[in-house]
Symmetry: C2
Subunit: 358 residues, 2 copies
C-alpha cells in the first residue's frame, strides 16, 4: 500500500510467467492488438496511437517530450510536486525554454496561474502538467487546463501515472493531446511499461517536425510502424513479451470489472480509510476537493517516529506505506489504495496496523 | 530457436512471477547488489557501473551513445549488418558526425578499414561496433578493434547483445570502455532489460561532459545514484521488479554452470548442428573463423520455399527459426542456439524438422 508499485494479483503474475514467444509470432501480434483496444477503453479514447512504451513511466514522459517538443520552443511546466520538476528537466533537455509556474505541494495546479502564463507568453506551444501527483496525492483539473491551453493554441502533455484506472480520466472527452501512465499503479500490473496515447493533433505535429526526434528508442515515427497503427509491422525493438502478457491480463481484469466500477471502488475504499483515519485524528495533506482516492497523503501524528512506524508495518504486518518526498519527508505518509490493493480488507489491515504501531 | 528472444527456462519464468515488492524494499536492494556482482562475472569485469538498463537492448545502445557522445564529436561506426546501422542513427541523433565503414553482411568488421579511418580522421573520439551481429551471425574481433581505437585516443562502444554468455567476451581483458547487451539472448532471461557496463575512462568522460545528457531516463549521472555505485540509493524510476527477479535467476543459473562452461556448451551444440546441416548439404553464410556458435545463419537450399518451411516448423514442430533480414531476406535462415535453447535435444529436433520440411 505504498505509492506504487501496487499489489499485483496472482492472475497477472501467472500470466507474466507464460512461456516467452517470439515478438514476431502471429499469436503475439493478436496480443498486441488486444492490448491496444483495451488501453483505448481504459483511457476512454479512440486514438489509433495508444500503446505501451517498453519501459517505465519516466520513459513514457520522455517519449511525449522528445516527440512533441522541438529545440527553441517554449513549454509551460506546472509544478506542484516531484513529477512536475521532472517534466521541466525533460523540456529543457529537448532544447526548449521552460516557463515554470509553481503551486504548493499538496495543492492542485492553479488555473489562474496557467491562464496568466499563457497570456504573458503567447509563444508557449505546449503545457505540461501532472493529473495526479504521486508525491502529494493531489489531483489537478486536467479538463480545464487543457481547455485553457487550446484557447492559446498550445497542446498538452498529461502525466496520468497514478490516475489511469483509479479516478476519472477521459482522454477524448477532455481533448488531451498526449498522455502517459505507468503499468504499476492502478492497473496493478508489473512495473516496467508505460501506456501512452496521442491524438491526431499531436501526430500531425510529430509527422511535421523540422528536426529528428533526439531519441531513437522513443521515436514515435518508428514505433508507430512497430505497433501497426499504419497496418504494417516493422521490427523496432524486441518487445518485453512477458510484461505484455501481464499488461494484457490486468487490462482484461479492468475490462471485466468495468472502468467506472473501478473508479467507484477506489472512491469507496478511500472513504473507508478516511473515516478510520479521522477516528484516529489523522489529517489529510490535500483539500477534500482535490484528494486522490488512490493515494492518501496524511500528516504523521505529532511525536510519532516516521521510520520506526514504517519499519514496524513492514516487518510485523508485511505492509508497506510510502514516506514523504522532498519538503514533505518526515512529515507525511503516503498510503496507496491502487488497483488490486484498493480492497476493504487492506483498508482494515492498514488501520489496525497503524493503530497498533503509533 | 530464432535469433532471440530465446527459450526461457521454467525456473526463470517462475522467479519472474514472485510477488512484486516495492523498489525501495530492503530485500530488493540486496537483489540489485547480487545482480550487479553476477553481471560483473558474466562480463568479466570489475567495473563498478555494471547494471541492467530498465528497457530493451536498443535502449542500452542509446544509453551508451547519449552519455558518451557530445554534439560536434566525430564517431566511427562500423556497419556489417542491421545493428551497425542503428548505431549510426544513434550517433547522429546525439549531434555527432558519423564516419561509416562498411563490410559485407556476414563478414566481420575489417581491422584494416578501422585503422585506415582512424588514421584519416584523427578527430574520431569514439569507435562503435557490433561484437556479434544478430542479423548475420558474424563475430568481429572486439579486442583488436578496441586496441586500434585506444592507439588513436578513441573510446569504444561495443554491442554484445548476442555475445554475452554465448561466446568469449572479456570486458576488462580487452579494455572495453562501454558495452551493452540484452537479457533475452544467451542469458535466456525475459526480454526487456539491457545489461550495460562502463569502465573508469568512460565514467570520467561522462562526469566531465560539457552538455547535459539529452535523455533524462538514460542519464547515467542520475542512474549511478540509483544503482548505488556511489553508495547512495536515490530514487530515479520505478524498477521493473519482476523482470529483475528473472534476470537474477538467469544469472544465478549462469553462475552455477560457469561462464566458460556456457561458452563451451554453445560451441559444442553449434558443431553438432553444423555436422547435421552438412549432411543435408546446407551451407553457412559466415566463414568458419567468424561464425557465432549461438547464431547459425545458413543458406536456404535452392528451390525451397522460405516462408512455407518456417510456417511448417512453427505449426507442426512448435519450432521458430529466424528469417533473413534486409538483403538476406528469403536467402537465409537464422537458427539460434542461445542460452537455454542451446541443448542437444533442440539441435536434433531442428535437424529432424528441417529434414522433414524441406
Amino acid at each position: 500500500m505504498g505509492p506504487g508499485p501496487s499489489d499485483v494479483p496472482r492472475r497477472v503474475l501467472d500470466a507474466s510467467a507464460r512461456q516467452t514467444i517470439g515478438h514476431l509470432d502471429p499469436f503475439f501480434i493478436t496480443l498486441m492488438d488486444e492490448i491496444k483496444v483495451m488501453l483505448q477503453q481504459a483511457y476512454k479514447t479512440d486514438n489509433a496511437l495508444t500503446m505501451p512504451v517498453s519501459a517505465p513511466g519516466s520513459s513514457g514522459m520522455e517519449t511525449c517530450f522528445v516527440n512533441l517538443v522541438e529545440p527553441g520552443e517554449t513549454v509551460l511546466v506546472c509544478i506542484n510536486g516531484v513529477f512536475g520538476g521532472r517534466m521541466q528537466e525533460n523540456a529543457e533537455r529537448c532544447g526548449a525554454t521552460a516557463i515554470v509556474i509553481e503551486d504548493d505541494w499538496g495543492a492542485p495546479v492553479s488555473l489562474e496561474k496557467v491562464e496568466q502564463a499563457l497570456n504573458e507568453h503567447p509563444q508557449i506551444s505546449l503545457v505540461a502538467f501532472v493529473h495526479a501527483e504521486t508525491s502529494t496525492g493531489a489531483s489537478s483539473d486536467a479538463q480545464q487546463i487543457t481547455r485553457l491551453a487550446h484557447q492559446h493554441d498550445a497542446m498538452v502533455i498529461v502525466d496520468a501515472v497514478t490516475s489511469l484506472a483509479g479516478s476519472p480520466l477521459e482522454v477524448d472527452g477532455w481533448d488531451i493531446d498526449a498522455i502517459y501512465s505507468g503499468s504499476q499503479k492502478c492497473l496493478s500490473c508489473l512495473p516496467g511499461l508505460s501506456p501512452v496515447s496521442f491524438n491526431e493533433r499531436a501526430l500531425e505535429k510529430i509527422r511535421n517536425r523540422k528536426s529528428k526526434v533526439q531519441s531513437w528508442f522513443m521515436d514515435l515515427n518508428l514505433i508507430m510502424g512497430y505497433w501497426g497503427s499504419d497496418g504494417a509491422r516493422s521490427y523496432h525493438h524486441t518487445a518485453p513479451v512477458n510484461s505484455l502478457y501481464a499488461l494484457h491480463e490486468s487490462l482484461l481484469m479492468l475490462h471485466e470489472e468495468g472502468l467506472e466500477n473501478s473508479w467507484a471502488r477506489h472512491q469507496k475504499n478511500h472513504l473507508l480509510l478516511k473515516s478510520g483515519l479521522a477516528e484516529m485524528g489523522i489529517k489529510f495533506l490535500v483539500d477534500e476537493a482535490y484528494r486522490l482516492p488512490q493515494l492518501n497523503t496524511v500528516y504523521i501524528p505529532e511525536g510519532v517516529d516516521d521510520a520506526a512506524v514504517r519499519r514496524n508495518l513492514l516487518e510485523n504486518y508485511q505492509l508497506e506505506i510510502g514516506a514523504g518526498l522532498g519538503a514533505l519527508a518526515g512529515k507525511v505518509w503516503r498510503i496507496g489504495l491502487m488497483g488490486y490493493a484498493s480492497r476493504e480488507e487492506n483498508v482494515e489491515l492498514c488501520l489496525r496496523a497503524l493503530k497498533e504501531s503509533i
